[in-house]
Symmetry: C2
Subunit: 368 residues, 2 copies
């Protein structure tokens, strides 16, 4: 479908004011790169803000400019689709700290040099704050809904907790209200892999070759957490890659090795290693209860929005108990919430893949 038929726009907003950050600093000259699909109605009441996950970006429908692959949620967002752009105006913005047009560590600081590790450590709430500024610029007071999976779900929760009057509905898929010790541990492995790469050079690699090897290892480790053990067994098992017997060497004998190496290498073509450091750090810092006196229900005290929470039975990154904890807190806060655990074989990645039951939940919840 053509961009015109989709009513697709791709823009960059320059924030008029400095962005205050949870770390205490202010960031000047922030840009927010975003894509919109569909038409905003006259009373600006049909907008849905979709928050992206760790390695995604604003290209929710349009092809990725570096890989040429379809937008990461193109199957779900469009005219007549699960998120129906004949009815809704969908906004998706690259997160603060990202590397696809929004201000991040690769952006130029006021001295004309990339921030690199001078970029301030940001939080999930900082990412949301930048997107609230985008809503302000678009003149949208209240959204029909915020939607997000994984890190997108964290942003949706942060939005609901901190800007409760600005949305009528909150859809959180395969997410969590706080990063667990195991979540932090996996991210720390990735960060150490990047920082151990001599080409990282303390983050000052712009203009030259970056820490591709380290970033690839980080991606490989993370990617395992996105798949279920059963899913990997079904897809790969112990099948060999283009060979009839083991080679008794260190080539990628097994398909799963070849697949992971490809995931690692291809990631380095489209992602900035420093962005990976900053975004994983923001996720690790995320603890919605801690931001509200240690009580998760307190985070939702001012909420009048409807909530829908979805988890997947094979997701071991943010397993169902994480969503259940959120549901209990919403119940305690008296917020209307529906919560469903869906069965899907793909692990955490189910939120991005073909799960018809998820489509029904999304369409049903947003259609109200």
């Amino acid at each position: 479908m053509s961009s015109a038929a989709l009513n697709l726009t791709s823009q960059v907003l320059d924030l008029a004011q400095a962005l205050p950050l949870d770390g205490g600093q202010q960031l000047d000259g922030v840009q927010v790169a975003y894509e919109t699909v569909g038409r905003l109605n006259p009373d600006k009441s049909n907008a849905i803000l979709v928050f992206h996950a760790l390695t995604m970006d604003q290209h929710i429908v349009s092809p990725h400019p570096k890989t040429g692959k379809p937008g990461w949620w193109a199957k779900s967002v469009g005219p007549g689709n699960v998120i129906d752009t004949d009815r809704f105006f969908v906004i998706c913005a690259n997160v603060l700290g990202g590397c696809m047009g929004s201000t991040g560590p690769a952006s130029l600081a006021s001295d004309g040099q990339p921030y690199a590790m001078r970029f301030p450590v940001i939080t999930i709430r900082d990412m949301v704050r930048a997107q609230v500024a985008l809503l302000d610029a678009l003149g949208i007071d209240q959204l029909h809904a915020v939607v997000g999976g994984s890190m997108g779900g964290m942003q949706a929760l942060s939005f609901a907790a901190n800007w409760p009057q600005r949305t009528r509905a909150v859809l959180v898929i395969a997410s969590t209200a706080r990063h667990s010790a195991q979540n932090i541990a996996f991210h720390e492995v990735g960060r150490q892999a990047i920082m151990a790469d001599p080409k990282w050079s303390g983050g000052d690699y712009y203009g030259g070759k970056g820490p591709d090897n380290g970033l690839a290892v980080a991606r490989m480790a993370a990617h395992i957490t996105y798949l279920s053990e059963e899913g990997m067994h079904e897809k790969f098992g112990r099948k060999l890659q283009d060979r009839s017997a083991k080679t008794f060497g260190f080539d990628a004998d097994f398909q799963v090795e070849s697949y992971l190496r490809h995931q690692g290498l291809s990631f380095t073509d489209r992602f900035d290693a420093n962005s990976y450091l900053y975004i994983t750090r923001a996720m690790d810092y995320f603890d919605l209860a801690e931001e509200h006196g240690g009580r998760l229900a307190a985070a939702f005290a001012g909420c009048t929005a409807r909530f829908c929470l979805v988890s997947f039975d094979t997701d071991w990154l943010y397993p169902t108990p994480e969503s259940r904890t959120i549901a209990h807190a919403l119940n305690a806060a008296g917020a209307p919430v529906s919560f469903v655990e869906l069965s899907a074989p793909f692990g955490h990645d189910s939120f991005l893949l073909d799960v018809p039951a998820l489509d029904r939940v999304i369409a049903g919840f947003l259609g109200q």
Copy 2:
């Protein structure tokens, strides 16, 4: 307790003959470093061979020569202990491919230079074959038992399948009959982390500084798989390390980060990176059914030994279904087997930690 009181010896055996390998090669001049505890009785019927796990070694009771820490199973092996050396003669050998005295990639080849990556890729069965040669040298025809946890359990299974008459009992703890796609994937991340470190230099780093950064990352990734999510939550949660607030930086703010970094760094003091490559490869290649026509029961066709299998409910590296698969195969082969899943909070590492129920199973099974 003194070495004399333990009847502890530490020796290195030079194999008299070349060792045939599953890869088709023969390895000359193989050395097997081993420790014994207790006294071999006159009819040589009281010996127990304990196989060690991936990063352990022959120092089952004696302090580790590099770290000074107690032997890895010192709490369980000794006079009056769970494995009672007043009664049994315990043998533990460093695996082929290891780095604590048995022949491995750091050993000198016939040209006087370290093998490095010229070392042949070995299998779990090759490791066992070297230890069978040790039993031959000791004149032990039949063991009272073979015992092993994790990779040690793989060796115990391989021993039982390939040398069925040489033991009367087989105890396998927290192990598997084949490495799964997820198991292979985690090992591949570790190998790529090592090989991505420029100091790895194609394996030719002996005499200089090795790929410590890569090896540390490999260890960090692996270490996560040894712990349970619940255990990490109990032990670390989101507790901060020696600070009262997040630093908004990339230091180890969280205790779990600090712990993992320490695990990674300290590992490099005691382990050779090339050994890590070869041993993980051997584990990934392990598929006992495949070695026996694709049918696991066929692997145990000639077995007359008693078997005991133990799994842990929080072990997600080699979860209970892996042990159940082995139990079913043993049943199909008509071998006597007891199988128990124990409850313990420590994940895979439970086999090394304080689990009284495990002690009772071991003492009960070996005492028969």
